[in-house]
């Protein structure tokens, strides 16, 4: 138990719990709207924001060049989310094409900006794959504040966000502010990605948003229950992943996502077996 009294472990666990509970909230809306890869698109743009923060820190002569990385990521991620949503809403390009442009544009800009700031690609690794073992109390507070905002909006507006992501045409007819609510989902995704960056990194953040939802929807037919179960799965995955890396020298972000994939395989296999058993039972009853 002495491990749990270590302040670093406490910080890691706090951040892991916050990210684990909030990422699946936004993930549920993205999966529902069939935009599961939006997180990846915004994540890559956030990487460019990290590098831009580095460049700004370098120009300002800050001792800690990293200081503006997270603010840069937040600004770029939100701007990227707004651009993606506006282009999608206006039908300027198909969603997957917009996403592809964001993928390549984000990562290429990130590498260019970091080299302009005098850094190297190695400086981006912590943001690409997460670096929870270096989390500070400052990072914890930023994560807590962002998580409270995600919880308040993501759960508080759950019914309206469901209505818009479920059937946009109907939502228009009711007078719901469809464009504004779509923008809320996009901005929530951007905030979630920057909050999760420390834990799993921008390359894997979509996995933490989507995998718990993919697992959850195999065991329930309700939107609300899918989100609730996904939040529990998200916390279990994050705490387990971080917990295991306290005893084994493994990369936490990658381990969390691999644990999620394994759980997905187990639950999918169980669901398949249950489905076959039901079919056999129905066949026997019919005969």
């Amino acid at each position: 138990m002495s491990v749990l009294t270590d302040p670093l472990v406490q910080r890691m666990m706090l951040v892991a719990i916050m990210v684990g509970v909030t990422a699946p909230i936004v993930g549920t809306y993205l999966v529902h709207r069939r935009m599961a890869l939006l997180g990846d698109g915004i994540g890559h743009v956030a990487l460019a924001g990290v590098a831009a923060g580095w460049l700004a820190g370098s120009w300002a002569g800050l001792a800690d060049q990293d200081a503006l990385a997270i603010p840069g990521a937040i600004v770029f991620a939100i701007a990227g989310a707004v651009v993606i949503e506006r282009m999608r809403a206006r039908g300027i390009a198909a969603a997957d094409v917009i996403m592809a442009v964001m993928f390549y544009g984000g990562i290429a800009s990130g590498v260019l900006l970091i080299s302009a700031a005098g850094g190297s690609n190695a400086n981006l690794m912590g943001y690409l794959f997460g670096s929870i073992s270096t989390v500070s109390w400052n990072d914890v507070w930023v994560t807590v504040i962002l998580s409270i905002a995600i919880l308040a909006i993501g759960l508080g507006l759950r019914r309206s966000l469901f209505a818009v992501t479920h059937d946009q045409e109907f939502a228009h007819s009711t007078g719901l502010p469809v464009n504004a609510l779509n923008m809320v989902v996009a901005v929530l995704a951007a905030v979630t990605i920057t909050a999760s960056m420390r834990v799993v990194g921008v390359l894997l953040v979509s996995g933490l948003m989507i995998l718990p939802v993919a697992i959850s929807q195999m065991v329930t037919g309700s939107f609300n229950r899918t989100m609730n179960i996904a939040m529990v799965i998200g916390v279990v995955l994050c705490v387990s992943g971080v917990g295991i890396t306290l005893f084994y020298n493994l990369q936490p972000g990658a381990l969390i996502v691999v644990l999620g994939v394994l759980l997905y395989v187990v639950v999918a296999s169980g669901a398949s077996l249950r489905h076959r058993a039901r079919q056999r039972r129905e066949k026997v009853e019919t005969a």
Binding site: H32, S160, H166, S173, G221, S222
Partner: protein
Amino acid sequence: MRVRLGGHEILHDVHVDAHAGAPVAIMGGNGSGKSTLVRALVGALPLSGGSVKIFGKERSRATSRRVGYVPQRVSAGSGVSATAIEVVTSGLLGAGRLVPPRDAKARAIAALDDLGVGELAHRDVSHLSGGQQQRVLIARALVRKPDLLILDEPMAGVDVPSQEALAATLQRHSDSGGSVVIVLHELGALTPLIDHAVVLEQGCVTHVGEPPRGLGVHALPGHDHEHAHADVPEPTASPFAWEVRK
């Protein structure tokens, strides 16, 4: 009203009136602009010209409270499962109401009961039959207690009992003074209910008046709307704006 999509004008100066207690059918072949018309009517598509008046007022978030819309069933499919009661409850939201009222659950169950699918309230809608899904979507529109009900091809892929149940529901709505605008390929079970039809072809109104009683002639590929046939009067042509009065 006029509607442009992708640089092409899809609806050309279309004008339709609908009145309380007199359901109106929008008919025509595939690609004639029927669904575009109702989507523009409910605000899901922007107008490139003209206007939509609902109960004498320009369409706005305030008038949308009086409208219940049933889109084509295909638009209701989504990535995450949802129960019938969750879908119907979303019908209670709207302009200025981002959170459902306290009695939302009871009202949603009552609406499902009215459509004869109350026992499906907690079932995943994607596992329901076409007819059952259609009833859930109609319950979602009716839970709003709308004065104007707009339905986009509600009979498509629906079994006969569900068609008859829908006809009875629309009859009740109409008898209680409600307005109905319904997109149809053919009248089918709604024949006794519909006395007024607007026929579209290539985004233009080609007929206003008695509905064509021939079974689905307007939906047949290559059907000639230009030349009158036995059951359809000569086309009318005039510049229009959509208007619904009560």
